[in-house]
């Protein structure tokens, strides 16, 4: 079966000065799958997401999104095309309420300009009301965060902040969702909730997910395919089961057997 990959990374390299962060990493993500990237600390996982999101520009290679080359597209245009992102260390807008943070995610889908925003009648008002209804039904209900919608983000517990960040990404109605360590620092219950949400997102919304995670139980449970990177290079790719038994992966994680 030859479906066209929704995201295709072709031989990207990245260097900061003399430090080689990524060298010729290639992989393809198929529509509707959960694709996990794992590897030891400093292997370059987050750099890969940053290249896809447009925050870093790779020195070589191409990135195709839905068949189109986005290597030179600015981050905001990539977001508008359907690429959403959550962060390892939460990057919410702390001065705003949960609801406003989520509404911000929908920014690229709205049309109100400066002049009509100042007037707030007619189209601008209707657009805001439709937006409120949409985020209530599709995001807030879905992620079960009704009770906190009017609270300031800064006052929330860590696990909830992560959930709000996911909510904001969902409001973007992305085609591909990039998640950087969605369960890091969470307790068992929060981890379970988050894993359930990720699976629900994939199944109910047709959103492809690329995630980085250190929690191997989560990775093995929910991902369809796994790529392993070490020292900026891809060393293995396959189903969770295949990867677990790959000799290179065992070497990267556990070191080499002596003698």
């Amino acid at each position: 079966m030859a479906t066209q990959p929704i995201l295709s990374v072709e031989g990207i390299s990245l260097a900061f000065g003399g430090l080689k962060v990524l060298s010729e990493v290639s992989f393809q993500v198929n529509p509707g799958e959960i694709y996990a990237i794992i590897g030891p600390n400093g292997a370059g996982k987050t750099s890969i997401l940053n290249c896809i999101g447009g925050f870093y520009r790779p020195s070589a290679g191409r990135i195709l999104f839905g068949g189109e080359d986005i290597t030179r597209t600015t981050p905001d245009r990539r977001a508008a095309r359907g690429l959403a992102r959550t962060f390892q260390n939460i990057a919410l807008f702390r001065g705003m309420t949960v609801l406003d943070n989520i509404k911000l995610g929908a920014h690229a889908h709205l049309k109100t300009g400066l002049a009509s925003a100042l007037m707030y009648w007619g189209p601008a008002h209707r657009e805001e009301m439709a937006l409120r209804e949409r985020v209530e039904h599709e995001v807030i209900d879905f992620l079960e965060i009704e009770p906190i919608r009017k609270q300031a983000v800064g006052s929330l517990a860590y696990g909830l902040q992560k959930r709000v960040e996911l909510a904001r990404a969902l409001a973007m109605e992305p085609k591909v969702l990039l998640m950087d360590e969605p369960v890091a620092g969470m307790n068992a219950e929060e981890t379970e909730d988050m894993a359930r949400f990720v699976l629900d997102i994939k199944e109910e919304r047709d959103i492809t997910i690329v995630l980085i995670e250190h929690d191997m139980n989560v990775i093995m449970d929910i991902s369809d395919r796994v790529m392993v990177v070490n020292f900026g290079q891809k060393i293995a790719e396959g189903t969770p089961d295949e990867v677990q038994h790959h000799p290179e992966v065992i070497k990267a994680y556990l070191g080499e057997k002596k003698g």
């Binding site: 977001a79 807008f93 702390r94 920014h107 400066l114 601008a124």
Partner: protein, 347 residues
């Protein structure tokens, strides 16, 4: 105590004035403002008009600095551009007030966009210095381009005319200034209910993730500059018709700093805060001066000490406010309201 304040529609939940109590007091306030000019003399009306102008300018600066996080030290220059635009259009082309008003705003917005252009590459203090440069340059132009601006002697402007009705007293100007001020406040409040206002705050809070949300940073920073200087331009136009003269002395650097002080004392990023701050910064020096007048004639030597003291007291007041309430008067007001929400039951 207010209870049973439940919303049935999203529109009701998103409204600015959310409860009957709030709307009642709003109507009371508007009625009081309408009755005010019939009860006081020209001096207080003059102060009210000046405060109205300051509020418009402060609300504008708060959009740029408080909400979008771009510090500007050139706000007075934009007020000046609006003022000179009005003065020149009136005296040289004979354009009526109602035409000058939007044109002043647009002229200021145009220069605001130019001054805002470096924000593509500069942030924080560096951008602040760029706006300082704009302040100095415009100040220089006001003084030295004598053929257009009239140099340091400025331009005398006839009183405004509205539908053939001469606005030649403070009383008449009040009914122009205050409605425009209310419209400006309403528009700013609306701005923050839409995606444009949210984008401004997102840029202030975390510009990198704002960009990854699909916000074009440069475009929105320019929007903020344009909106802010449009407000300044409108304020400048009104100021010209209030004072009927425009000179470079009205728009020096410390005037820009005064606008910054207004929004910091009032509350950064809050429309209500800009209003409180503008009232505070306009009225308190006047109140101090009237207080000083009580000592008049008692002792000349005492007066010579007391006179400079009012500046010190004013500065001290600002410092005390910032130490005890860094989020400004708006935050204080919010706490007072919260107290009365449950009054007379404490918990």
């Amino acid at each position: 105590m207010r209870m049973g304040d439940f919303k049935q529609t999203y529109a009701a939940d998103e409204a600015v004035f959310r409860s009957g109590t709030v709307r009642f007091w709003l109507v009371v306030l508007l009625l009081a403002m309408a009755a005010f000019p019939f009860m006081v003399g020209p001096y207080l009306l003059y102060m009210a008009n000046l405060t109205g102008v300051a509020i418009i300018a402060a609300v504008g600066l708060n959009i740029l600095t408080g909400a979008a996080g771009q510090i500007s030290l050139g706000h007075a220059a934009f007020v000046g551009i609006g003022a000179y635009t009005s003065a020149i259009l009136t005296t040289k082309l004979g354009l009526p007030f109602l035409v000058c008003l939007p044109l002043s705003g647009l002229a200021a917005a145009f220069f605001g966009i130019i001054v805002g252009a470096p924000s593509m590459r500069m942030k924080g203090l560096y951008l602040c210095i760029a706006t300082l440069a704009a302040q100095v340059i415009f100040d220089f132009i006001f003084v030295h381009w004598t053929s257009v601006t009239g140099g340091i002697r400025g331009i005398n402007v006839p009183s405004a005319e509205l539908f053939g009705y001469k606005l030649d007293t403070e009383f008449k100007m009040y009914f122009v200034t205050i409605p425009i001020m209310i419209a400006a406040i309403t528009a700013a409040r609306n701005l923050f209910r839409t995606r444009v206002g949210r984008a401004f705050i997102a840029i202030r809070d975390r510009d990198i993730s704002a960009e990854l949300m699909g916000i074009n940073l440069f475009q929105y920073k320019l929007y903020a500059f344009a909106a802010s200087s449009f407000y300044a331009g409108v304020a400048g136009c009104l100021q010209v018709y209030l004072l009927r003269i425009v000179t470079p002395e009205h728009f020096p650097l410390h005037e820009s700093i005064r606008y910054l002080a207004m929004i910091i004392v009032g509350g950064l990023g809050s429309v209500l805060g800009s209003i409180f701050g503008a009232i505070f910064m306009t009225m308190v020096p006047e109140a101090l001066q009237s207080g000083l007048a009580l000592f008049q004639g008692m002792d000349d030597k005492l007066m010579s000490y007391l006179f400079p003291l009012q500046t010190v007291v004013f500065g001290l007041l600002i410092v005390v406010f910032l130490v005890f309430e860094p989020h400004g008067l708006a935050e204080m007001w919010r706490r007072v309201k919260n107290y009365f929400r449950l009054w007379p039951f404490e918990h």
